[in-house]
Symmetry: C2
Subunit: 214 residues, 2 copies
């Protein structure tokens, strides 16, 4: 897989088939993850790969509780507004997020990323994103979720037997599976609208020419 | 550039030449960055590309102050210990970090990544890491630093004219330049030591077989 294709087409892929991911692919995904840089090369991370259906089944209702809280709090206004104005893109995100919650235990691999002494997240998220890019290279879709770190983190840790008293924090729960949908470049605001040159508000002098992928 | 090569060999590349990075490459780096997923596809980010030598010269002493604080606080014990036990890897990180601080204004491109409503960092760091990977594909080295977010963030924002009162937070200051050193796979703990299967402490059944790059 070519780097640019991976960078442009690794979009959130929530709807996946239940087919298991071979161990060799899981190994490759995790081995790529740990190559990412971390502050002072501290590598203060632990990854949990959850494939056991019993563990997934115990986590699923906890995830659904956390997702319900998210819907009623953080995303309440945004999703109500998306409904009101008929924002199809936002509604599609909402529907596929709900699919992921409803089908939690059908997702063949969940990756839980824990870190400590990483207050900004600058050390753990590059590794997580590398895992997702490496998966894309193997035709495996993924979606980064953070809700179990914000809600129900203690219940999650209890199921996974994580020693929270040692300072570990859950940064991401990432779903992995062979996609039901198609790969493609996700819509984004033009880069020139979110980038400034040398000082805030000063437009960049260049224009981007994104590659196209068939 | 092949995806795996980028994922394995994009290590912190602090020592770079002062040669400017062409606008087309800067555009490509940023355009790749904004393709990364963000929570609810919110894209709550702004990127500042600093190439103006006057702006770099004003930021340099601020960065050096922040770096001095880091050395005297967060890294004090770790670096003293590295000296005591002769940890060559840690001492090399220390030396190249000091090089970056001393040569701040010689680095041809600094990328400042700001976000808001992203308390975990899960939305901004994939974009930042994509920028670094895209740069690697163009033969451009980079290093993610967070210290200006922790120390001297107000002075930095004042120079860059960032409206902090609008809720923007500095997540990363990333150096970019053509490398003085060589690309290579950075040493890491074996992935099997930092990954568990289904519950904390339970070893994975697979062994990784990292690709080799010449």
């Amino acid at each position: 897989m070519e780097l640019d294709r991976a960078l442009y087409t690794t979009r959130a892929m929530r709807r996946v088939r239940p087919d298991p991911i071979p161990d060799a692919e899981v190994a490759g995904i995790l081995d790529a993850a740990v190559r990412a840089p971390s502050g002072g090369n501290s590598q203060n991370w632990r990854f949990l790969t959850v494939t056991d259906v019993n563990v997934r089944s115990r986590l699923a209702p906890v995830y659904r509780e956390a997702f319900a809280i998210l819907q009623e709090t953080v995303y309440k206004d945004a999703w109500a507004r998306a409904q009101d104005i008929g924002d199809r893109s936002a509604l599609a995100v909402q529907r596929s997020s709900a699919w992921l919650a409803e089908n939690f235990e059908q997702v063949p691999l969940w990756l839980f990323a824990y870190s400590r002494n990483d207050p900004s997240g600058a050390s753990i998220y590059p590794a997580v994103w590398s895992a997702m890019l490496a998966a894309r290279g193997k035709g495996i879709g993924s979606c980064l979720t953070t809700i179990l770190g914000f809600f129900r983190s203690e219940e999650t840790a209890a199921i996974l037997e994580v020693p929270l008293d040692k300072g570990w924090t859950l940064n991401a729960s990432v779903s992995f599976g062979y996609p039901l949908g198609n790969w493609g470049v996700a819509p984004r605001k033009p880069v020139e609208e979110v980038t400034f040159a040398d000082r805030w508000g000063n437009p960049v002098s260049w224009r981007s020419h994104p590659p196209s992928f068939d």
